[in-house]
């Protein structure tokens, strides 16, 4: 798929605008941020619960607080960083994307297992797992 000309600048502008919003306002205290429907109806955490608060904490340099809100998001950051590094390099040099890990059959399966495990474990109300919950 070829990237259209507006695609990359558009995404960068939206991400920058969202970063300003999430830096200035705390999604845990403001009513203007959408709440997770799964959490609202079941009272349980989904794998994405706490990610808005985690992004707010990350933008303030508070990695510990972010990990407390959503460990999955913090753990995925190195993976995302390497992916987007390779993507940027491939875009600049016009050579094919070269990070083989993304194309390996095991990678997606491992990530699937991690997501499902995280979803189950963070809802167990016992001491070691409580730290995985979003609050």
């Amino acid at each position: 798929m070829r990237y259209k000309k507006w695609y990359l600048p558009g995404i960068l502008i939206v991400v920058a605008a969202l970063a300003v919003v999430y830096y200035r306002y705390d999604p845990g205290r403001s009513v203007y941020f959408p709440k997770c429907p799964f959490h609202t109806f079941t009272g349980l955490d989904c794998p994405g619960c706490g990610s808005q608060r985690a992004i707010h904490a990350l933008l303030h340099g508070n990695i510990g607080q972010a990990a407390d809100n959503n460990l999955l998001l913090v753990m995925s950051l190195p993976f995302l960083a390497v992916h987007y590094y390779h993507k940027t390099v491939s875009g600049i040099t016009r050579r094919p994307y070269s990070w083989r890990v993304v194309g390996h059959p095991a990678t997606a399966r491992i990530i699937f297992v991690i997501v499902v495990l995280f979803w189950i474990l963070r809802n167990i109300p016992l001491t070691p797992f409580q730290y995985l919950a979003s609050d």
């Binding site: 798929m1 070829r2 990237y3 009513v31 203007y32 941020f33 959408p34 709440k35 429907p37 799964f38 989904c46 794998p47 994405g48 990610s51 959503n70 999955l72 998001l73 995925s76 993976f79 995302l80 992916h83 993507k87 491939s90 875009g91 016009r94 050579r95 094919p96 994307y97 070269s98 083989r100 993304v102 194309g103 390996h104 059959p105 990678t107 997606a108 399966r109 990530i111 699937f112 997501v115 499902v116």
Partner: protein
């Protein structure tokens, strides 16, 4: 998986951006949208994100098994689910914001 021996890439035939051909120079490995699926899972729409991750796994395993058409189909499905996830997340987020603003303005007009 050595059934697709690379027999030298023809000069001047780079695969499109975002795709790579690890073991078949003629059929490039379809984009699996794994990273996009992860983002959808973490940031908004869990079921669609997980469907995307499952399809990402299918893209890779089918490609390595030599099922290039199946890999293409899984790639299309993965893109469908991640795109749907992004759109639903965006629409729900904006609707939520609008509803809260309307409720806030309405509450203020009722003198609360």
């Amino acid at each position: 998986m050595e059934e697709n021996q690379p027999f030298g890439q023809p000069p001047g035939q780079q695969p499109p951006f975002g795709q790579s051909n690890f073991n078949n120079p003629l059929t490039p490995r379809p984009k699996n949208y794994l990273v996009e699926s992860i983002l959808v899972t973490i940031l908004c729409c869990l079921p669609l994100g997980i469907a995307g991750i499952v399809n990402a796994a299918n893209v890779n395993s089918r490609y390595d098994a030599g099922d290039y058409a199946g890999a293409q189909a899984a790639s299309k499905d993965a893109w469908k689910y991640t795109k749907l996830g992004f759109i639903i997340g965006l629409v729900v987020g904006i609707l939520y914001f609008v509803v809260v603003v309307i409720l806030g303005v309405g509450g203020a007009m009722l003198g609360r």
